[in-house]
Symmetry: C2
Subunit: 316 residues, 2 copies
């Protein structure tokens, strides 16, 4: 079967599945729409952490040891910035800086984030379309005892320390879907939507908060498949487990499925979380249980193929 696949991705985990999908689908059959709610300005540079994670994963530049950023990274510019007395709460590697400098320069020159992302991915030889969820600013903010703060400050500078009492998406409503996301949502041959294994609250929800996206997804007569970010009951990386615990609504795939609600009809969960299967089926979901940890390219491709099978899209 043919048909187009729209993948909604956040950072590291989502990026791996996006790379898996890109490995098994030709460019014309895949659109990867990426969360930009975590984008921020630092030292005058525009940083798009999730776009970068996806881009680096697609070209095999992601550092799989450290779990983020570029492989073979160095930190010379940052050391100079610190010597100059400039604050370094966000650690910018030298290779990564090349990306931020190019992006910031092009944005300042008047290109949209969509245009810049297309330019830079083309430069790197990426054939699959990687599109921001929106060219408008939509910023994920978190509420702690100290008040509302931008996500990156809490995530990086405060190391997810302060208890999270709320999440909001500043700029929504009002952020239009980027042309590439809109085009994918309106394709007559759209055959599946994949919610990649990223944090549902902090990485996928911002995409759903873009004007019209949630409603459009709900209206689509195609399979919508979430791949769980939990592996053996825990988030591989990031604050998801802490967040689930603080929400007090359960810390398993049931809680995630309830959060997504009617948006998701299929769920792919890790073998280590097979105990969640009956509860998910009781919610009316179709469930695939399999090893979901992606350490190698083969793991990513195998998970991508399982997702396509769940969507009824057999691979040739």
């Amino acid at each position: 079967m043919s048909g187009h696949v729209l993948a909604l991705s956040g950072g590291v985990g989502g990026a791996k599945l996006a790379a898996g999908l890109a490995a098994v689908l030709p460019p014309e059959r895949l659109t990867i729409a990426v969360n930009t709610g975590d984008d921020f300005e630092h030292l005058g540079l525009t940083i798009c952490p999730d776009i970068d994670s996806v881009v680096y994963a697609l070209v095999g530049l992601n550092d799989t040891q450290r779990g983020w950023g570029v492989t073979g990274e160095t930190w010379q510019a940052m050391a100079m910035l610190k010597a100059l007395g400039e604050k370094g709460w966000f650690n910018l590697g030298d290779r990564d800086l090349g990306m931020h400098i190019a992006r910031s320069w092009r944005l300042r020159g008047g290109e949209s984030l969509s245009e810049v992302t297309a330019r830079l991915t083309r430069g790197l030889g990426i054939a699959h379309p990687v599109v921001p969820m929106s060219d408008d600013p939509l910023r994920t903010q978190v509420l702690t005892e100290a008040g509302w703060t931008d996500f990156q400050r809490w995530f990086v500078e405060l190391q997810c320390g302060p208890e999270l009492k709320g999440i909001r998406f500043a700029g929504a409503p009002g952020a239009a879907p980027a042309p590439g996301l809109l085009a994918a949502l309106e394709r007559p041959d759209l055959a599946a939507v994949v919610l990649c294994p990223s944090n549902p609250f902090l990485s996928v929800d911002p995409i759903l908060a873009v004007d019209g996206v949630r409603d459009r997804l709900l209206s689509l007569q195609v399979p919508r498949i979430a791949v769980s970010p939990l592996v053996g009951g825990k988030a591989v990386k990031g604050p998801l487990s802490k967040l689930l615990a603080e929400r007090g609504q359960g810390e398993d795939n049931i809680a995630i499925a309830k959060h997504y609600g009617p948006l998701v009809g299929h769920m792919v969960i890790d073998s280590g979380d097979a105990r969640d299967e009956p509860g998910l089926r009781a919610l009316g979901l179709e469930v695939v249980v399999m090893p979901t940890l992606m350490k190698q390219a083969e793991d990513r491709a195998r998970l991508a193929q399982a997702v396509l099978r769940a969507a009824g899209l057999e691979q040739d």
Copy 2:
């Protein structure tokens, strides 16, 4: 004797003497005013090559092997920029980038180049005042057969290839001296002005083209000492020799002295150019002949002390 010394410096050679002066004079007795005519924007960053050369020389970060930039430099960001398809006609090292990012960020935040330079030198622990010649844009441009072009393009991208038919300083008149340069020029205890061994046409002339600077210097009743950038009849680095040849006015210190005219009363020339001494004396100049090549810190300090002696400023 006491008294304040104003050093006018361009890039590499001038920076070495500036570092020598800083080694033998306390901070309150020295102002280093630096050419900003070569400043340019690249990839959205503001680059001040001569200020950087002076700053790196003062903190011992200058790469003495390569002759420019920072020691221990790497080129990771540049490699990423090239991979992204962005032009790399100007090679930006990773450590150097830290400087450009900090400067660009602060300038965009509304600080003047003087304020930014003071902030960044303070961060690096530099006690001696390093000031730009002007906070206004004054840009050195060169005329070749292809028309007028910015200095850095000709110097770096065209590698000084096209014959130079003219030099102009766009923005002059109209560029006011920076507060630090003006303050030094107006100090009642100003005791000497040193024209550092930088290219007279391309590095010192822009400083002299800043509003009022040349006239003010001519009116000062203090020794004005040029240290020649020629060593053994040749420029140590850069396009000076080529430029002297193309001007057809001689390729020795006589040509440089004639160019400076009444602005300079003393000249320090290299032992290898002793043949120029009678001609310089015939022009009415006082002349010091000594080894002027600065390979080590001791060379820089020795040359600095000779300059102070020539100015009648004995060192304690």
